[in-house]
Point group: none
Chain length 159, copies 2
DNA sequence: CAGCCTATAATTAGCCT
DNA sequence: AAGGCTAATTATAGGCT
């Protein structure tokens, strides 16, 4: 975002990623605090990262627990469908973009669409990993993550 | 934060506050998505506001519930902080592994989506994509939305 | 590695439609 | 209210110490 445009893809360099994480974490928390103050809304955030010894809880544990509690106590219908989550947010963005693109496409040429999309592709390079391998490995671990954590928890409590 | 410095205090004007809320909410979610992608961390946020009919959950409900669950099942801070025992060692290993896996998964997804996009471009349409594809691709697009818009703008002005 | 610095990218307040 | 525009502020990548 400065000195150079950011490539929005996992930062493989360890120290660079760590540094970016620290910077952006504080940026994010600042922004969060601002919107909370400016608009008097109730919010919380939780982040787990390998760079913090403990989860980062914003704005604080009490507030987080209150918000979580309020969230969890919502009647089922509210928790189900109409939530304004990131996915629908992103979908809206896509729809708007597509509208614009379609509009322009009418005015100009089809291959312009191709060029526009190439711009999108500039956002990141191709990974050089085997698809099958990654799917298998990530699948196994994520499937058993909960189980693993429970196990660790038990171990901890039992000494 | 532009045209005038912001006074970090509750905005009493209704419509102004609402507008600021909408703007900053998008900004916040975008930043959140970015740090998640860049650093492969696990995070969630929940916001209650009078301007949304429902709570805003980021990045989505499932992720939020997973993060919340992980948070609630965590041992108290003092216990986990400085212990260097078998468990925390194992935990560190787990986190490192998760980190790698998440990284690979994301790269993999990106790789696949990029190819999908290429195919769409060559084939000239998005008609046969699933909702999931669209969501993923929308990420790619929204990352570059500004770029696209500038591009379109230039094309438009240049004829 | 952790801060500090600075050039740029990105966000956004106030206007206008 | 909702969107577009642009000036101005803010965030931050890369360098340096």
């Amino acid at each position: 975002m400065t000195r150079s445009k950011v490539n929005l893809v996992y930062i493989s360099n360890d120290s660079a990623r760590r540094k970016t994480y620290r910077r952006r974490k504080s940026g994010l928390m600042k922004k969060a605090q601002e919107i909370t103050k400016l608009c008097a809304i109730e919010a919380c955030a939780i982040m787990f990262s390998p760079y913090d010894p403990e989860p980062v809880v914003w704005p604080n544990q009490l507030q987080a627990q209150q918000v979580i509690s309020r969230y969890r106590h919502l009647p089922p219908p509210q928790q189900s469908k109409k939530l304004v989550d990131q996915e629908s947010f992103t979908r809206q963005m896509l729809e708007k973009t597509m509208e614009k693109v379609t509009k322009k496409r009418k005015e100009n040429e089809h291959n312009q669409m191709t060029q526009v999309m190439y711009q999108c592709l500039n956002g990141g390079g191709f990974g050089n990993l085997t698809i099958g391998d990654m799917n298998n490995m990530s699948g196994l671990i994520s499937q058993n993550l909960r189980e693993i954590e429970r196990f660790l928890q038990r171990r901890h409590h039992n000494g």
